[in-house]
Amino acid sequence: MSRHRYPVESCRVFERTTIEKLQASLVSSKEDDNDETVKDNGNGSNASNVAKEKQGTQKSGKASTLKIVLGEALGYGPALSEHIILDAGLIPSTKVPKDKTWDNATIQALVQAVVKFEDWMQDIISGEVVPEGYILMQNKNLGNSSSISQPGSVSQVVLYFPLI
């Protein structure tokens, strides 16, 4: 976080993600995967448009994973996308299903994890809760640093936060 440029262009007014919005975003992400020339379809949520345009050019030729798709849908960045997926008890590197539909259990689990995260964020924004702080230590063996992140995934750790 401290070593990367803050993605100011992604700043926006906080808006909760509903199950309908999440489903629509997942579908529109899949459509983008199939037709990369479509960049502005106007159907996606405002929150995901910036992320879609930014990431759409990076992942050409790569298989879409749940982490990438959810990252585009939420617009919170890859690190929080991975966090939410793990919170839901799912695997970030799960490939997008061939029939292009996510099962209900997966979506429900994701929705609950998103709600949990957004509850936390809402409390922070409203000032009800003062966020805790965590300092992570450097890995001693930098070569084996990522035990969970998968090869081919976005490796840059950027944590989007409402308060700069």
């Binding site: 966090h83 805790e132 702080g133 300092i135 992570l136």
Partner: protein, 74 residues
């Protein structure tokens, strides 16, 4: 040595070593008050290690040369 800071412990980082603070502000104060000195110390250690490796190599070369000279004289 410190790596990065965050206001929420991400699930993917739970297996890493971390220090928890009561507030995010406290974490930032701690991070930025020590990171510069930690980086300087790390760079210093890296320089020391490089110098020690060079010294060892020179020492080994000289021991080898000495052994060869001894063999030649005998």
């Amino acid at each position: 040595m410190y790596d990065e800071f965050c206001p929420i412990l991400l699930n993917q980082f739970k297996s890493r070593d971390y220090t928890k603070f009561e507030t995010f502000d406290a974490a930032l104060d701690e991070f930025y008050s020590k990171i510069e000195s930690q980086r300087a110390e790390q760079q210093q250690k890296a320089k020391e290690n490089t110098a020690a490796q060079k010294l060892n190599k020179i020492r080994q070369d000289q021991v080898g040369t000495l052994a060869q000279t001894d063999n030649t004289l005998l």
